[in-house]
């Protein structure tokens, strides 16, 4: 069987129908993205086996979980599942919660060391406590550790941050990023927050009304103009770069990426480290000539490749290419006419702000 995650599901529930046939990468983080009611959670539950799917086809990196002949019950699937609410067992201590799944996994199948999980999620100080005494963020960290402790071959996460406030989200995101970097476990991550996806995902599936309307690598998918409506005001691109240089005098750092570089406020990462950043379409303006006398720090040579009208009326999204790296600008229709912007036209992109994702 081929590598990768296969999920073919056609399920009707009352007046909702989920109809997808997905071939997803067998490694990295795949985000299932869409508005509420688009079927993200149902899809995840089907893959886990928590929701029965007659005639479904589910396999994970060569391991068949469901086909015409077999349906592997949930407790025999090598998965980890993180629910929206931490759902810790109230009758068990934090340590017992962590060990609940672990002790049900045969020794030979344990590939993740419990100590690594405890360190990765920073829960060592919580182990002796009772679940009731934990904060929301701490509870979710324990729940993630509990799911990882069973050495899953696939980690399913259903909006693990949705029930937390902004501060708690910021508390957990770094742990999720470490999980991505340190463990070689494929993750399906359900979310309706484009911020979370920009930070965590490698691959994106856009779901709408029970169907997969687009999928692909994070950068290509986020920069597709026809998908702009899905992201509402959050249209923009995500770029992977490397920290190239620090300028401590002006307190700036230079980030290099394929096709250009940007200066940002001095970041904590050291030179050579990988870093991801986001440029919102509304933070990009366009010029025909390079504005030498300007306060803009970041002027990038690029070429218009695609234009599309968007709401509100009079606004245009312009997809740009910077020698291989896509960029999106939101400008007015009047400016477009004034500058004569059309596909193929060389331009200068002026970047108002860059949002580092770390």
């Amino acid at each position: 069987m081929a590598e990768g995650i296969r999920a073919r599901i056609d399920l009707s529930l009352n007046d909702f129908r989920l109809d997808v046939d997905l071939n997803l990468p067998g490694r990295g983080v795949t985000a299932l993205f869409g508005q509420s009611g688009s079927g993200k959670t149902t899809l995840l539950r089907c893959i886990a086996g928590l929701q029965a799917t007659p005639d479904g086809l589910i396999s994970v990196n060569g391991e068949v979980w469901q086909d015409e002949r077999t349906i592997v019950p949930v407790h025999r699937r090598a998965l980890g599942y993180v629910f929206q609410e931490a759902s810790l067992f109230g009758h068990l201590s934090v340590r017992k919660n962590l060990e609940y799944g672990l002790k049900r996994v045969p020794l030979a199948q344990r590939t993740v060391a419990q100590q690594d999980v405890i360190e990765l999620l920073g829960i060592a100080p919580l182990l002796g406590r009772s679940c009731g005494s934990l904060s929301g963020g701490e509870r979710q960290r324990v729940a993630i550790a509990r799911a990882l402790a069973v050495s899953p071959r696939l980690l399913l996460m259903d909006e693990p941050l949705a029930s937390l406030d902004v501060a708690r989200k910021q508390e957990i995101l770094p742990y999720l990023e470490r999980l991505h970097d340190d463990l070689d476990i494929p993750v399906l991550y359900v979310s309706h927050s484009s911020d979370e996806i920009a930070r965590l995902a490698d691959h994106v599936v856009l779901l709408a009304e029970g169907r997969a309307v687009a999928q692909g690598g994070l950068h290509e998918t986020l920069s597709r103009l026809d998908m702009a409506g899905m992201f509402a005001d959050d249209v923009g691109v995500v770029i992977d770069a490397v920290v190239a240089q620090h300028d401590d005098l002006d307190h700036l750092s230079r980030l290099d990426f394929q096709g250009g570089s940007v200066w940002v406020s001095r970041c904590a990462e050291s030179v050579g480290q990988r870093i991801r950043f986001r440029i919102h379409a509304s933070d990009v303006s366009l010029a025909i000539h390079k504005a030498e006398q300007s306060s803009f720090l970041n002027l990038l040579a690029c070429k218009a490749i695609e234009l599309t009208n968007v709401n509100p009326r009079g606004q245009v999204l312009v997809k740009l290419d910077m020698a291989g790296t896509p960029l999106i600008a939101r400008i007015t229709e009047r400016s477009r006419k004034h500058l004569g912007i059309a596909p193929g036209r060389p331009l200068w992109a002026q970047i108002k702000s860059v949002a580092l994702l770390h």
């Binding site: 886990a48 928590l50 019950p73 949930v74 407790h75 025999r76 998965l79 980890g80 599942y81 629910f83 609410e85 759902s87 067992f89 109230g90 009758h91 609940y100 799944g101 049900r104 996994v105 009731g132 509990r146 799911a147 069973v150």
Partner: protein
């Protein structure tokens, strides 16, 4: 003066009956409660209503039908006779069977409520953590439903101690076999032995009050925790 030998025999018999009935009901009632809490079958309504019948029926009605069914011409009577154990009415085990029916709702309903209130989520979590269905029941559903089981056991026990009508119909009034405390009190009063009746009645009153007080205190504590 205190209790006579007959009084002590009645107390001992009552405690023995209530203990056996409570243990049997926890065994029988748990699967019924689980089924009622999780089924989507149309039978849920009818079965739930049958379980709840003793809450509203006069004990004499229940006792009358049980007497017929367990009697020499009833189906259970035929069965017990063919098994060589004779007839159940007017024996200790006849009382046990009747009490199991009579106290059923007091055990099934608290357990069913407990199962329903923990919901599906903890069981789903346990399934994703490799626990088989039986494993999930014993390691998650049972411990999380403990307050419901304690309420069920206490109510089942206390209600069996307090029954009178069903006992009279099924058990009659045989010393050390079917003469429980409530019947003994009735006998004392009939014989105008008010002092003896006071001792037993007062003991029952205090017993029932203490049991219910303990139960409500426990429930308040677990709710706060």
């Amino acid at each position: 003066m205190g209790f006579s030998a007959a009084d002590l025999g009645a107390i001992w018999l009552t405690l023995r009956l209530a203990t056996v009935v409570t243990l049997l009901l926890l065994l029988i009632g748990t699967p019924i409660a689980w089924w009622l809490a999780h089924t989507r079958s149309w039978l849920k309504g009818p079965i739930g209503a049958v379980v709840a019948l003793p809450l509203v029926l006069p004990p004499t009605v229940l006792g009358f039908y049980l007497l017929l069914v367990m009697g020499p011409n009833g189906p259970i009577g035929h069965f017990t006779q063919s098994m060589g154990v004779g007839l159940l009415p007017f024996t200790f085990w006849g009382l046990v069977v009747a009490s199991v029916f009579y106290s059923m709702p007091f055990v099934v309903q608290p357990i069913q409520n407990a199962f329903e209130s923990i919901g599906e989520r903890p069981l789903e979590v346990a399934a994703t953590l490799r626990a088989s269905p039986w494993d999930r029941f014993f390691s998650v559903a049972l411990p999380l439903s403990r307050p419901g089981f304690i309420t069920a056991a206490i109510l089942g026990f206390a209600h069996t101690v307090g029954e009178f009508g069903v006992v009279l119909m099924i058990g009659g009034n045989i010393p050390d076999k079917t003469r429980v405390v409530s019947v003994q009190i009735y006998d004392h009063v009939e014989a105008l032995e008010y002092t003896e009746a006071h001792w037993l009645a007062g003991t029952m009153l205090i017993f029932s009050f203490v049991v219910l007080l303990a139960l409500y205190t426990y429930n308040r504590k677990t709710k706060r925790a």
